[in-house]
C-alpha cells in the first residue's frame, strides 16, 4: 500500500487492519514511536497523519493510504535540543509522542496552549514542568531557585 512516510514515498505490504503503530515499528523498522498502553490513553504512539496528531495504536494501516505520515524520525527543528536542555525529557519513553503532539503548536505558545495540546500525552517523570519549559520557555515554567539553607526565611510569620 502506498503512502508518504517522513516525506518519502513508501510502499509497504501489510494487512489493512494491522495497527499503524505496528507497521511503523515492525515493517518500517522505525522504533521511535512507542507503545505505552494500546488503548489510546497515553499518547506515546502519537504520529502525524496529514499534519494532524493521532494515536497510531488506534489507526488501521488502511487509513494511511495516500496520506502523509510523519514519525519522530522525520522531525527536524529545535524541539529536541530544547527538551534535552530544559529537562523536558527524563526517561524519554513519552518524549517522541510529546514532540509529535506538540508539532501543531506555533513558535511561542503559552503554557496553557502547551497543556491543552498535550492533554492526551501522559508523562510520569517530569510532572509536565520540564515539558512546558521546553516548549513555552522559562517564563512559563521557571527553573528552580537554589539557595543556601542559611539564606532561607527566618520566620514563619507573615
Amino acid at each position: 500500500m502506498r503512502f508518504v512516510l517522513n516525506g518519502k514515498r513508501a510502499d509497504v505490504d501489510a494487512p489493512p487492519l494491522k495497527r499503524l503503530l505496528d507497521v511503523l515499528r515492525e515493517d518500517c523498522g522505525l522504533t521511535g514511536t512507542k507503545e505505552g498502553c494500546g488503548e489510546g490513553e497515553c499518547g506515546a504512539c502519537t504520529v502525524l497523519v496529514d499534519g494532524v496528531p493521532v494515536n497510531a495504536c488506534l489507526v488501521p494501516f488502511a487509513h494511511a493510504r495516500g496520506r502523509r505520515v510523519t514519525t519522530i524520525e522525520g522531525v527536524r527543528g529545535r524541539a529536541a535540543a530544547a527538551f534535552a536542555r530544559e529537562g523536558g525529557t527524563q526517561c524519554g519513553i513519552c518524549t517522541p509522542g510529546v514532540v509529535m503532539a506538540a508539532a501543531t503548536l506555533g513558535p511561542r505558545p503559552t503554557a496553557a496552549r502547551v497543556r491543552a495540546a498535550l492533554a492526551g500525552n501522559l508523562c510520569r517523570c517530569t510532572g509536565y514542568a520540564g515539558i512546558v519549559r521546553a516548549l513555552a520557555g522559562r517564563r512559563a515554567a521557571p527553573r528552580p531557585r537554589v539557595l543556601a539553607a542559611s539564606r532561607a526565611a527566618k520566620t514563619t510569620r507573615g
Binding site: 488503548e39 494532524v52 496528531p53 493521532v54 488506534l58 492533554a119
Partner: protein
C-alpha cells in the same frame, strides 16, 4: 489479549451505494470509521467483527452545511472538525463545546460524530447535545432512506434502532432557539470518561438531557415541563431524580451522580438566567 488480525477482514467500498449493497448481501459487516472506540475493543479482545466495512472514503458521509435552516452534519465529521467549524460554533455552540471535551486532541482528530452515536455508550459526550437539539438521524440502507428522531434512537443499554444493513449518513439539526449550555464532569480534567454530562437549552420551553445517569442518554420531560410552567428550581431538582437511574460503577457512585446532576441543573439555570455577557 488482542483480537488476532488474521481472523479479521476489511471490506473497502468505493461508494456509498456499494457499501450499502454489501451490508445487505454480505453481512454481518461492522462499520469502521475513526476507530477510537473500535480499536480499543480490538485490543482487549472485545471487538465485534470479524468482518469490517471501511467508511473512511465515503464522501456523502462528510461535510457540514446549512440546508435552508437546517444544520446538516455528516456522520464522518470528526470532533476536531466540529469545533473547528465556524458554522457549528455559531449555530450549535454546545456541540462544539462537547466535541472539545471528547478524549484528547489525538482522539478528537479521529473520532467521529457518527461513531460516538453508533457506539451507543450512555456516557457519550455528544449525545445529550443531539438529544436537546432534537436532531434527526438520517439512516440509509440499500432500500432507501429512513429518518429517526434522535430522542427515539436508543432502545436500551448500548442498543439502537439501527438495522444491520443501515448506516448513519448524517445528522440534521433544526435551529435551536434559546441559550445553549453544556458541561461534562469527567473522571479527571482531560482524557476523561464522563461521570455526568448535561446539555440544556434555556427557552420558554427549556430542554435538558443527561448522560451517564441511565442506560441511555435521557431527556427530562417532566422536569422540563415543570420549569416551563414556572416551577421552582428545588422542585425541578427533585423531579429530576425520578427521571434518572444512575448506578454505582467503577468510575463513580449513584449518590454522586444524583447530587451532581441536580447541581448541574442549578448551574445551568443560574448561568442562563443572566443577561448575555460577551465571552
Amino acid at each position: 489479549m488482542a483480537t488476532p488480525l488474521s481472523r479479521l477482514a476489511l471490506r473497502q467500498p468505493r461508494s456509498l451505494a456499494q457499501a450499502l449493497r454489501w451490508l445487505r448481501d454480505d453481512g454481518p459487516l461492522v462499520p469502521l470509521a475513526g476507530c477510537t472506540d473500535l480499536y480499543v475493543g480490538v485490543h482487549f479482545g472485545a471487538a465485534p467483527g470479524p468482518c469490517f466495512l471501511d467508511l473512511a472514503d465515503l464522501a456523502p458521509l462528510r461535510g457540514i452545511r446549512l440546508r435552508g435552516d437546517t444544520l446538516s452534519i455528516g456522520a464522518l465529521t470528526t470532533h476536531a472538525e466540529l469545533f473547528g467549524s465556524p458554522l457549528v460554533r455559531r449555530r450549535l455552540p454546545m456541540l462544539a463545546a462537547a466535541a472539545r471535551e471528547v478524549g484528547s486532541p489525538q482522539i478528537q482528530n479521529r473520532g467521529t460524530l457518527g461513531g460516538n452515536v453508533a457506539n451507543a455508550s450512555p456516557a457519550g459526550d455528544t449525545l445529550p447535545v443531539l438529544a436537546v437539539a432534537e436532531a434527526e438521524v438520517v439512516l440509509r440502507s440499500a432500500d432507501g432512506e429512513r429518518r429517526v428522531p434522535f430522542t427515539s434512537f436508543y432502545t436500551g443499554y448500548r442498543q439502537t434502532v439501527m438495522r444491520r444493513d443501515e448506516l448513519i449518513v448524517r445528522f440534521e439539526i433544526p435551529p435551536v432557539r434559546g441559550r445553549q449550555w453544556f458541561r461534562k464532569i469527567g473522571t479527571r480534567a482531560a482524557q476523561a470518561i464522563s461521570k455526568v454530562v448535561i446539555a440544556a437549552v434555556r427557552a420558554p420551553a427549556p430542554r435538558v438531557a443527561l448522560g451517564s445517569v441511565a442506560p441511555t442518554v435521557v431527556r427530562l420531560p417532566r422536569t422540563e415541563t415543570l420549569l416551563a410552567s414556572g416551577g421552582t428550581l428545588a422542585e425541578a431538582q427533585a423531579l429530576l431524580q425520578d427521571e434518572i437511574a444512575p448506578i454505582d460503577d467503577i468510575r463513580s457512585t449513584a449518590a454522586y451522580r444524583r447530587r451532581v446532576a441536580a447541581n448541574l441543573l442549578a448551574q445551568f439555570w443560574a448561568e442562563t438566567g443572566r443577561p448575555v455577557r460577551a465571552r
